[in-house]
């Protein structure tokens, strides 16, 4: 075996090791959390409220809180995100506008999540007077989800063949009719992928809701958009850092982490699956 063959072999083994490390990390995280969390998950855990100062009971209102926050964020970000994507791909504005908007979208995607939290605190909680509430939290999370929805929608819209648009315009449809009746329906599965991806992202975020929505403990279910809520990610943090019964709380934190992990991972696997099918259809 020549020296350069040995070098190649070693190099390729190193690359394999790097790839394998990813699998080990993912497997390790899922395994440890599942192994210690699974035992505490049962019907009562999923349907009851926390009780006895967070040492017993379940997480039902906490799940509800995460559901409302995520729903609110999507309701806010979806129309804005799809409209931005439509403007950028269909109305093809001038070059500098495209560049300016692309740079803002990229930078918005790179803003640290805790900074979104401070923005939400200043603007929604204080300035607009929504207080620490589902509304403030949803709006904050919505801004964070916006770049994800825009880029997925853009990808979906660009994938729609130009010939379909031209056919519609040739039949006498206006641009808006073409977008509404032809382009959007064709791009819908791709846009849906973006929505699902952002659901996964938003449901797991903690820092943006620290000062805008989350509470350590709230009695019962949230009853209006102005209520403070418990949310799954913040619940885990609170269980690990507050309270007086570390052992019991860690047990519940394991179960909550497993629940959140299962939720977020299944949501993103769904998105990956839909997107893979989508790409196959276009390539075929």
């Amino acid at each position: 075996m020549k020296r350069r063959d040995i070098v190649q072999k070693l190099g390729f083994s190193a690359l394999f090791a790097c790839m394998a490390a990813n699998i080990v990390f993912l497997g390790g995280i899922v395994f440890f959390i599942a192994a210690r969390g699974l035992g505490s998950i049962n019907w009562a855990f999923l349907t009851q409220a926390p009780r006895d100062s967070m040492t017993a009971g379940g997480v039902a209102p906490v799940i509800a809180g995460t559901f409302y926050l995520t729903l609110g964020a999507i309701i806010f970000a979806l129309p804005l995100g799809v409209a931005s994507a439509i403007y950028l791909t269909e109305y093809s504005p001038r070059g500098w506008i495209v560049n300016l908007l692309r740079i803002s979208i990229n930078n918005l995607a790179g803003v640290p999540s805790v900074v979104f939290g401070l923005f939400g605190l200043t603007v929604f909680v204080k300035y607009m007077g929504f207080g620490v509430s589902i509304l403030s939290g949803s709006l904050t999370l919505g801004i964070l989800a916006l770049p994800v929805i825009i880029s997925a929608s853009q990808e979906a819209l660009t994938a729609v063949p130009q010939s379909i648009r031209e056919a519609s315009l040739a039949l006498g449809a206006t641009q808006w009719e073409t977008i509404r009746r032809v382009v959007l329906p064709a791009a819908l599965p791709g846009i849906l992928t973006g929505v699902i991806l952002s659901v996964g992202r938003v449901a797991g975020e903690t820092a943006p809701i620290l000062f805008t929505a989350a509470a350590f403990y709230v009695k019962g279910y949230p009853h209006s958009i102005f209520s403070e809520v418990m949310a799954l990610p913040y619940h885990i943090y609170a269980l690990m850092t507050e309270g007086t019964h570390p052992e019991e709380q860690t047990r519940i934190a394991y179960a909550s982490s497993l629940l959140l992990l299962a939720l977020v991972l299944s949501v993103s696997m769904l998105a990956i699956y839909i997107r893979a099918r989508q790409r196959k259809t276009y390539n075929a």
Binding site: R4, I33, S84, Y87, F119, W176, I272
Partner: protein, 294 residues
Amino acid sequence: MNKRKERIIRYLFTALAFASLVFLVGIVFVLFREALPIFGKVSPKAFLLGKSWYPTSSPPEFGILPLILASLWVTLGALVICVPLGVGSALYLHELAGPRQRALLKPVIEILASVPSIVYGFFGMVILAPFLQDTFNLPIGLCALTTSIILGVMATPTVASIAEDALSYVPRSFREASFAVGADRWQTLTKVIIPAAGSGISTGIILGMSRAIGETMTVLMVAGGSAVIPHSIFDPVRPMTAAIAAEMGEAPVGSDHYHALFAIALMLFLITFAFNIAAELISRRFRLKLGLSR
């Protein structure tokens, strides 16, 4: 009539599309507005280079050097992990994995990216920290080392997916030319393909860094929280994000402490903004170099 409706719709979409810009400008405005009052009390120089962060003692001290150094320290540590792993995985996917392996491995990386940061933090706190403490016989498990490892794992998917994109843009002809002059696969990879994709790969590394330095929940739970200048990788530290997240709840609105925390957030924003702009510029140059239109 129809024409007018079309025009109104066009204006509507234009207005909505500017939302991202409005939010970005809004964030900058809020950060500056809420941060500036602190510089009436502490000079920017004393703020940035001051070595002690005691915001609640009297008189309070607002020097954020320990926090900045802590952020850089754990980010540097994360780079040691995420650069080899991320670039290595990208090369493996691009060079060695067949279509079937790729179909399986790419989702693994994406799923690793979608694990919530609170779960990483929790994992670091209950599994990794005790493990490292036992293994290295450390006085405390929640320290810069633990944080760097977790941040490195979190940043790996970012580096890997952007680097993989960059590799796929390298034209086939480069590879064929290299094989034609007798190079083997490894030589082609290290001498032709990596240099050609170099700036694309560095974009990935910069964005990975940006992700690591802005990460909040993980460092809040795992870094240990003591606001001193780090001297070793085993020191507990308090990065900028952790300070903001941990102290904002207790800082009275409008107090010096409150404004100081916004000033930290402003610093953080400027750092990540610089990273993102750098990534943007480098990736633009990369596309020009390879003659790509996008």
